[in-house]
Each structure stands twice: as C-alpha cells, then as structure tokens.
Symmetry: C2
DNA sequence: CTGTTAGCGCATTCAC
DNA sequence: GTGAATGCGCTAACAG
C-alpha cells in the first residue's frame, strides 16, 4: 500500500549515502556528475518518489493549500476552486478541500484540521470576515491565508472579492431606472455574512439616493426550498402596495425565488422583476434570462492563490483586492407597471 | 507559522511522558483519570493539535483521499466531489483535489503527486479505465482506488457509475419512438473514453435493434466552443437527408451543440431534436428544457468514498457498482417531421 | 497504568 | 564532493 522504496533504498542501489541522494533530488548542493547519473538511474529504476511526509516533517510545510468553502454545489464556489486548483498546480501544490455546508460553526474545526496537516496556507470563504475568532487564531499563529468572496472592512485581512456595495448600488439603480419604486431585498443563507451585508448596503444607498425607502433584508432560510420560500414570500408579495421588484443576494436564491413567485401565481417579470448576484451559467440559459451581477469567479480563485504565494514567498502584506464586475441585463428585470412608476423619485448616479 | 507546541510540550506541561499524551489523544490504551484530566487541560491550555505529519510518518497513511477529475467547471464533477467531501468528512478525512483539464496525459503525474502524499486511497475519473498504465501501477503497489463515472469492462476494478449502455439504449429508443430515423451521435472531449464508448454502444444497439443505421461518433474537439462546433456540424446538418436528431455524449456538449445548431439557422427541436447525458441543473431551466439521462452525481461521489473505505477497512474486493439513472424528458426532444417517420423500422424494447 | 525507546523518510548540519 | 549523524512529531513495542 505505501511505497516501500525510500531514499535509503536508492542510496544502496546507487552505492552512495542518503545525503547525496537528497542533494541530487533537491539540487541543494553540488554533486559529481558521475554519482548524479548513478543516483538518477537508481531513482527511475526503482520508481522512487520522495515522500512528501518525510520532507514535511523536516520543513514543517506541506506543498498543499487548505481550502474552506460553503459548498461545491454552488457553481460560484466550484468555479473559484477550479481556478485555485489550476493556479496551485502551476506552483506544484495541491488543494486540501473542505466544505462547511453553510454552517459557520464548522469553520473552526475545518481550519484546525487543515492546519494540523501543515498546509502552506489557506484560502477561505467564511460567514463573517471581520468578527471571526478562527481568523484571529490564524493571525496569532502567523498562518497565512487569503479570503475569497468575503469583503472584510474593519480588519486588515487579505481578500479577493468584488466591490459588493458598488455592484448592488448599480444593480438597484438599474431597477429604479426601470421604474421600480418598492424593491424588496431577499437574502439567503449566510444572511448575516459580510458580503450579504455589503450588498444590502449598496442597495440601501441606491434607494436612499433616489429618495426611496430601503427595506430590511427578508431572510430566506434554505437554498432551493421553493415551497418554503413561497410560504415565506406570500405575505410580502400578495399584499396591496407589494414590491414590483426584488433583489436577491445571490443567483441561486434568485432561481428559487422565481419558482416560488410562480407558485404564488405571480409572473416574472410581468408582476415582479428579479435580479441576482454572481453570474452563474444557469442564469444565462434560463427563460427569461436572469438579470445579475457578473463576477469573475474562476479568476478570483486564481488570484487568491497568487496572492497567497506572494505572502508566502515575498512576504507581501495582506490587502483586499477588488476584481471588476459587470452588470448583466436579463429578461427577469423589466419595466415596472405604469402605476408604480408614478411615484416620484430622484435620479441615481454612481457615488 | 508552524505550530511550535508538540506532544513533548504537552507532556512537560502535564508532567508525564509523551507516550501517555499519545494514549490520551488516541485512546489507544487506558490511562488514569487523574493523568488524563491533566493532559487534556494541558492540551487546551497550550492549544495543542497533534501533527498529522508526525502521525503519518509513523503510520505511513495520511487521513486524506486523493481525487483526480477532469474539471470542476463541469457541474457533474463538482457534484461528485461535493458528495465525496461530505462522505470523507464523516470519516474524518479530507480530499486532496486535482484536475486534469481533460488532458489524459496529466493523469499519471497527478496520481504520483497524490501517492507521494501518502493518501489513504484515491478516487479517480480517467480517460480509459481498462487500458491504463497508471491504474496498473496502483494495482501493482496495492494502493486502493475507486473509479467514478468510468465503467471498466475488461478489467477488475472498483467503480461507481451508471449503466451507460443501458441508458443510451433507452434514450435512443425514446428518439426512435418519437419518429426519428437518422440519429447522429456527437461526442465531446474524452471521446475515446470508456464511458463515451459505452454510451455509443448503447446507441448503436438501439439503432440496430430498430433496423436503423448506427453512425460512428462525430467527435467535437472543444467544450463550449460554439463557433467551432457550428463549423464542424455544418456539413452533417445542412446536407440533404440530414439527421433529424442528435444524441450528445454529455449535457455540456448538448448545450453548446444547441447553440451551434441555432447559429446554423436550425431550430431545436423544430429541425433537430437533441438529448444529452448527465442531468445537470442547467438542462432543467433552459428553454426548451434538455432531454437527458438523469444521473445521481452527488450520490455517486458519496458511494465512491463508502466503497473506498470498505476496501480500506474491510478489505472489500473491487467491484463495479451501477447506480440507477432515469430518463428525463425535455423540450429538445420532439416528434420527427412526418416525412422522416415514413422510413420503416422495427419496434425497440429493452434488451 | 506509565515511561523509555526505537524508528517512520527525509533534510541538514558537521566532519572528512 | 561526500558520508555519518541528528532530529523533525508521532506511534507502538517493550519494560517496568
């Protein structure tokens, strides 16, 4: 099961010491060409592969990056991890992958598990990047990490994300421009997360700038639970003076909200306009197409790894890097009914 | 960066030997309650976490499972990995994740990398499960592994998959029942893969059973390269007596083929009916919905891990486990034009 | 019940 | 340019 060929076997086979074999493998010191060829021959003949365990025990650092994300079932995180994997592979590292299934309580344990494996560094998406004892622990132990999708504001932590507030500000602006006056904000799991909070801030800023009323987030408990959502949304969307539009904190939520609204007998976008956030492929092919904010998720994963290595090798200081987003128009965002538009409001422009 | 507190630190702090600390941690031998409480106190006080490296050096086995898949950008593999991660986590293991980006040539190197990390076992999707030197090597070294999505037929290897031939047999039967007589088979990357081969076999068997002509697979080189596909498909679908239906070897390919056909001015399903394979969520929401074979991808990932642990712990013999699939009807598969139906054919039933 | 000790595979001194 | 020796953190065998 485990390889029986060790550095010692190679040394015997090549008629030299294990130190010399190590030198040949790592080019850590000059060796005579004659010995080197003998060693290399022995290595290939025996099919020897240096144990990462042995090396790590000595160097106290595995060539792995620990990853913690909410779930791979969300294409946003799948794409991020794909980007991380490619970037890590370029640097001869592999990913140690774990998922919280959207339970913030699991973060601490998963991080501990990864740290126990002596990962070179960590890439994380957490519920809250500012108020987070696990991250405090990593800081205290000087274990390098980069957040992804999170947007820390109060703390000095490395992160790769989009400017969530600016994105929802723009998206809300587009809804207002389409004549919507009462716009609901729907949040999914992680509703108390930093990025969800930032997204709501952008929405609220745009509403206020237009002289409209920003509403508190409506929290929907479970992803993809369409029947549950229909029930939760009935009160809001079947009442008089109901919202004519809803901004969802992410695309997956927008999809199930669309289903829930249809279950309530409401048309999208005929009765309610809808927009999401992330830019998953699903939104492109559904009918009508989903209006959303397109984010470079795969690229974010690559950047997170690049940033982590910069910290690892060049001792780069932690910083928040914002990657560009684009507004993606879609069929779910249509003009508001004429009676709704009649409500006065001020024009909105970017801050 | 690395933890400075070792089992020795704990031993000193608790006033006992490192062996006793080890015993407390692993419950590998009885210890007096008094010493145990002292040790546990020391562990929490010092924030000690046993190094997986140290343990692995001794046991020659890390609590990790090596994973090799083509790409996380394909939701099929993302879901599989999500299932693996959950099942592995239940057993206190983590995944070491790598991807080939659909380049079979990378398989060997990635597997070597994972083996060098002393993974407990491997879960792989390879290009060819039967003719595969890398798998031969794993067999020779008695390193346990389970294939996923692959369907080995000639070799005795552990695998979790659906019955690809039966699935395409049924799917092709549905197309024939809808009146289609000339049905093309389109294969994406990995076109020489075992599962693609098995899928084509099922298609060919159904065609032959109906007295129709089975065609060789049309190989499309790149995923999602719609313009390239349009060019490659023009000859086939713009000719007289052209196919009225096409069976694609997977859903992602079906999506880009749908785009290519529309670029050629052909309606789906008005001019050409289409079906895929896998059952990705995209197919559900696109318009028209995609006819396909629904496969339990997440469950397959879980089963692969369960099977691997059965081999690891109970020395279970390698076997191929088929998980159930279902035909998913969809708008892309419609009745053939009347003139096409007039071609005679025999009724098809399952073999 | 507990302590001592010998490695696991490797990198890295320090001699030569 | 090379080899012998040491220790990384831990488990397990053996003594007590």
């Amino acid at each position: 099961m485990a390889r029986i060929v060790t550095i010692r076997t190679v040394a015997e086979h090549a008629g030299c010491s294990i130190a010399t074999v190590s030198r040949v493998i790592n080019r850590s010191a000059p060796t005579s060409t004659e010995v080197e060829t003998r060693v290399r021959a022995a290595i290939t003949a025996l099919g020897f592969r240096p144990s990462e365990i042995g090396r790590a025990l000595k160097t106290l650092r595995m060539r792995t990056l620990g990853v913690v994300i909410p779930s791979l079932m969300n294409p946003v995180f799948a794409a991020s991890v794909a980007g991380m994997e490619a970037a890590a592979r370029e640097r001869r590292h592999t990913l140690l992958l774990t998922a919280t299934d959207y339970e913030a309580g699991r973060e601490a344990e998963l991080v501990e598990t990864l740290v126990a494996q002596n990962v070179a560094g960590l890439i994380l998406t957490v519920a809250d990047a500012d108020e987070n004892p696990t991250l405090d622990m990593l800081d205290a132990e000087h274990i390098p990490y980069v957040l992804i999708h999170n947007e820390p504001v109060r703390t000095r932590r490395a992160a790769v994300c989009v400017d969530n507030a600016a994105a929802t500000f723009a998206l809300t602006g587009a809804m207002i421009a389409a004549g919507h006056r009462r716009i609901a904000y729907l949040a999914g799991r992680f509703s108390t997360s930093d990025r969800s909070r930032r997204r709501h801030e952008g929405y609220a800023a745009a509403m206020t700038a237009a002289g409209l009323t920003a509403e508190a987030p409506v929290e929907l408990d479970y992803l993809s639970d369409v029947p549950g959502h229909a029930e939760a949304l009935a009160g809001l969307f079947l009442s008089p003076g109901r919202p004519t539009a809803a901004l969802c904190s992410n695309d997956l939520l927008a999809l199930s909200v669309a289903g829930a609204l249809r279950d309530l007998g409401l048309g999208v976008p005929a009765d309610v306009s809808l927009a999401g956030f992330d830019g998953i492929a699903l939104g492109h092919v559904m009918n009508p197409t989903l209006a959303t904010v397109d984010t470079p998720t795969r690229r974010m994963g690559e950047r997170a790894v690049e940033m982590l290595f910069a910290m690892l090798e060049d001792d780069a200081p932690p910083r928040v890097e914002h990657l560009p987003f684009t507004l993606r128009p879609g069929g779910t965002l249509a003009a508001a009914p004429a009676d709704a538009v009649s409500v006065p409001c001020s024009p909105v422009s970017n801050p």
